[in-house]
């Protein structure tokens, strides 16, 4: 995100179980619809949240998903931050390649999320955890 991006409101969901994933998706979808995203794009946002939250449950056991409204001039958007204090990713570049995992071969997982969203950033440290930031702007 560039400068001048104003953060309006945020919602934080603790993610540990399947039910938490559903809650994170619900929050994300609600904000997306409220911002005026189309049904299709709101669905893609929910999908990105699903994939990120699924990674948290699968690899880090627990973590959190933060959903924020963002603004850049007249543009409005939504950012999804998925954060955990899990084992971290040893080789982030490889993790972002298709084919790194079974779901990756199909274009799902982290590379899939990157393609669904307008902006994508990942930071990971072994033994400390992973933070993924992904945003979509309303076109």
């Amino acid at each position: 995100m560039g400068e001048g991006v104003r953060v309006e409101q945020e919602s934080k969901v603790r993610v540990e179980t399947e039910a938490d994933i559903v809650l994170a998706r619900q929050q994300g979808r609600a904000i997306a619809r409220d911002l005026g995203f189309t049904l299709g794009n709101a669905t893609l946002i929910a999908t990105a949240i699903s994939e990120l939250a699924r990674n948290i449950v699968q690899y880090a056991t627990r973590g959190e998903v933060i959903l924020k409204r963002i603004e850049n001039g007249s543009q409005k958007g939504l950012v999804v931050i998925a954060r955990d204090e899990g084992p971290g990713i040893n080789d982030v570049r490889r993790a972002m390649e298709d084919g790194f995992s079974t779901s990756g071969r199909l274009g799902l997982g982290l590379p899939g999320v990157r393609r669904l969203m307008d902006e994508f950033n990942i930071h990971s440290e072994v033994g400390k955890g992973t933070t993924v930031t992904a945003s979509m702007w309303k076109s």
């Binding site: 399947e18 994933i21 559903v22 809650l23 998706r25 619900q26 979808r29 049904l39 299709g40 669905t43 893609l44 929910a46 999908t47 699903s50 994939e51 298709d98 079974t102 779901s103 199909l106 274009g107 799902l108 590379p111 899939g112 393609r115 669904l116």
Partner: protein, 317 residues
Amino acid sequence: MNLSLEELQREYTSALRQHLVLSDEVTFQAAYEIGRRALVEGMGVLDMAAIFHRAMVAVSTPAGTAREAARRFEALESFLLESLSPFEMAHRGAREANTALHRQNEVLEEQVKRIAHEVHDVAGQLLASAHLSLAQMQKKAPQLRTGIAEVRRHLDRIEEQMRRLSHELRPTVLDDLGLLPAIRFLSEGVSMRSGLQVRIESPVVGRLRPPLEIALYRIVQEALTNVVKHARASQVHVGVEVHDGWIHCRVGDDGIGVDRSRASAGAPATGLGLIGIRDRVASLGGTLKIESGQDHGTELCIALPLESAHESSRRAG
């Protein structure tokens, strides 16, 4: 319907039924997960559409008020979108991979061009210097004449080999003059080497996009090689024309033809060297048709879009 598909169908129908009663995130998540599982198990978008259709039929109820019907349609749509979303993700991945493949192809052609240039020009200059040195040497030591003449013959052979290699890599006539002069040049070589009569017919003048010129040149090159190797033909015609935004290229011979059963399947095509042509055509969004009959010769009909899908979609978007 295999077991896993039946199971998916049952879960999907039940989730849709719930969704219509109580549209909430749990049923959305279920739709998404079922779609994701279907994708992982190798099903396609059309399978998903069929699953959705069957589920919709199964949960159909008599129409209520207009408002109820509208709400129902909306719920159906959002549910369908959820289950298709994993396929959208996969589709974007495939599209990105295809673009990368294209770019890589361009980079490869660019490298080949550079190597061809180096081989032709740079090595050619070095050889010319070697000839000069030999000439000086002969002046100083006329008694070495026989030996020097032999070295010259070797150098000439090297130069000939390099020139051929350079042209095979990337004919400069293709870059400088375009497709048809390059095909004419190629055909002359084929005729000289094999005795095959090559007739070229084309009203096409001017230049095409470089990737198209390169692809068509390589296709004709491969096709002529096939004719020489397998067809036992005496004549071959090459036709190139443009119609409605497509370029059509035909290469037909009067040879023994290929057995239909052998030409259609994938494996025998390897032996006929058609795989390369097929891949090239496919990567440019074109079509390839092989017409052949025993003793009736063989004709390859290739059609390629003049404008790349990538460019036109970029323009549209």
